[in-house]
Homo-oligomer: 384 residues x 2
């Protein structure tokens, strides 16, 4: 088992307009993507990995000259890893509206010659999937061996199974949900309000003013980050430990930092506000809020999933309170009612929602076994 090594992103330009769920269209756009492994002769070994809120097409490997630039799912994807690039041809694609290369709010709107800013259309999970399907077309991939994602990425995998039932044999949905709860939406709206009310947001037009709504992004990330960690894990890692406790084990009696958890969260917020785009954050939280495939079926997830044809692997983590196991069980129930083949793993892991990104042996073993099963069922196995 070794890392995938040096990788480099590619870009594909699409000149045909993409009609969007919210009305209107993106006249032209670019998708940035990476691939790992080799597409086999009958193009049956492709796996699409969909990313979550703050990730990108850079799933695995590192960039030339930047050994710290490891992909976000490097523990999952690579030679001999659970999603084994010696067997599968893996594609990571950056979604529209992102700030990591694909067309987004910081890019020039060809109609105005200025950055889109807040006028970038509010794109949905389904819009992303439609764009991903065009990339698959361009790469000549008629049917994926699997489409896979965690969290918001899992929503995309689920949308693939509904929108393009013939284009994936397996759907791998990890730490996800068929729709956000009121509490999930509430946390997203707090984050949005923090950004929108930052004077440096400038109505989304901050690029032209040479400023960035860092304070808003920082608070948005802090509140988001709390929901990614489990209560227990936070207690274990931080508890009430004071920062610099060795030097001076007392409270400061001011509004600076007393506790390690404050230091950690502010650091996460600061770091995030330096690389993430505020308009992208707003767009992605809206895509999360809007995802609800059961909506056009009178709220019936079973009916929403009735046309799916893939086999499913669904996994959740016991301490995930953002998208709790209960939410994954809703997906499983709807699939069972549709007589789909569904494998469900509820993994006892301490790390909350973030567990889907972390090294957990039982989790990794199960994903590995599932891909082994996918591999064994493939008529032509060799890579090209």
């Amino acid at each position: 088992m070794s890392s995938i090594g040096i990788v480099s992103p590619q870009a594909m330009r699409f000149a045909e307009p993409l009609r969007l769920q919210g009305g209107g269209a993106l006249a032209e756009y670019t998708l940035v993507y990476e691939t790992y492994g080799t597409l086999n002769a009958d193009k049956s070994n492709a796996v699409l990995v969909c990313h979550a809120l703050n990730a990108s097409h850079h799933v695995a490997g590192t960039y030339e000259g930047d050994p710290k630039s490891t992909g976000w799912w490097n523990n999952m994807v690579g030679p001999g890893k659970p999603l084994d690039t010696d067997r599968f041809f893996v594609i990571g694609v950056n979604n529209l509206g992102s700030c990591f290369g694909s067309t987004g709010p910081m890019h020039l709107n060809p109609a105005t010659g200025k950055p889109y800013g807040a006028s970038f259309p509010v794109v949905t999970v389904e819009d992303w999937v439609a764009a991903q399907a065009r990339l698959a077309d361009a790469l000549g991939i008629v049917q994926f061996a699997a489409v896979m994602g965690g969290s918001l990425g899992g929503m995309q995998a689920l949308a693939w199974s509904i929108m393009f039932p013939d284009r994936l044999r397996h759907c791998v949905v990890i730490a996800s949900t068929p729709k956000l709860s009121a509490q999930n939406i509430a946390f997203n709206d707090v984050a949005r309000q923090a950004i929108l009310s930052d004077p440096d947001y400038r109505g989304g037009d901050f690029y032209a003013h040479g400023v960035v709504p860092k304070n808003g992004l920082r608070v948005a990330r802090m509140v988001g980050h709390i929901t990614y960690l489990s209560n227990d894990d936070m207690a274990e890692k931080f508890g009430r430990k004071l920062r610099n406790a060795a030097e001076n084990n007392d409270y400061k009696f001011d509004f600076g930092i007393d506790f390690e958890i404050e230091s950690y969260l502010r650091y996460q917020g600061d770091k995030f506000s330096e690389y993430f785009d505020a308009n992208t954050y707003l767009l992605i939280t809206k895509a999360l809020d809007y995802f609800d495939p059961a909506r056009e079926f009178g709220g019936s997830l079973t009916r929403a999933l009735a046309g799916t044809k893939a086999d499913f692997f669904v996994a959740s983590f016991t301490t995930d309170w953002r998208f709790s196991p209960e939410r994954s069980r809703e997906i499983v129930e709807a699939l069972v009612c549709n007589r789909r083949r569904v494998t469900y793993a509820e993994i006892d892991a301490p790390h909350g929602h973030d567990a889907f990104l972390l090294e957990d042996q039982r989790y990794m073993n199960m994903v590995r076994a599932y891909y082994q099963r996918i591999w064994e069922a493939m008529p032509v196995k060799g890579q090209a």
Copy 2:
């Protein structure tokens, strides 16, 4: 059972400096308070009610000419109510640093002639209790029949039992905790960062600039409010209901309001930002973070509570994820280990942390029964 009717606050000035836990002292200060019922001849029927984050001395009744100005625990305190003012003399007192009348950051610092602003000392639960004890002295109350509070108010009741073991016969601690968890502190720090990074905060000196950090307060309240409600209750009340669903049952595809929960939270945030003081919010969250009576006993709550003499009534609510039942059970365990008389009620209620303020028949019945027991044990029962 009737309401307590028209009430009016009183103010008491203290000229003797109050030494503070964080060092230094408040040279002089005023406490605003209200009383309900009548103190009996031997002054044995007094009950002190301590308030939580955004409440005040105005526990019950209404103010002259303002029929909507109902006290925050009006369902609990009044003639024939669980804490029956036909029997008990109830005192509500506004804490130092608050924005409802007692000396706080918006008042003039006698040393400078300017508002304290961010220079108001960071006061602790123990400082509040010390100030409350002086008010009790001034009112001639040597020993309370009970000191009672919910949430942060429960911390004050607990601190009373430790700091002044002979001055209360009963300690009533509802929906509280012996100390905040890392997650609790994290949410408080998000709220603080939202306020501190609002340009209108002006380093705490916003009074002089004629502005208020409304955006920061608004985000702070929104995130706080999420933690007061249970996930289930939020799902039940709001779910994914769209605002104005009857008119136009579709998403808006912008960053305005789509969901009822967004509308509700923003309304709560707006309302709060119009009446609450930003410096007070910072102070009160710090008092919450700092409370940890076990700290000076090597983390042993049992040792911290070893000197208490009161009987205890501790109550928690099953769906409270802010201060979960587990936290109340820690208090109960430490009291049991100290061979204290402790009654513990874990109440199956849907409303999360806010349940302590709401009408729940089982909850109210148990508090009523406990005060009946207090009453029956009193040698002199009549009011003066």
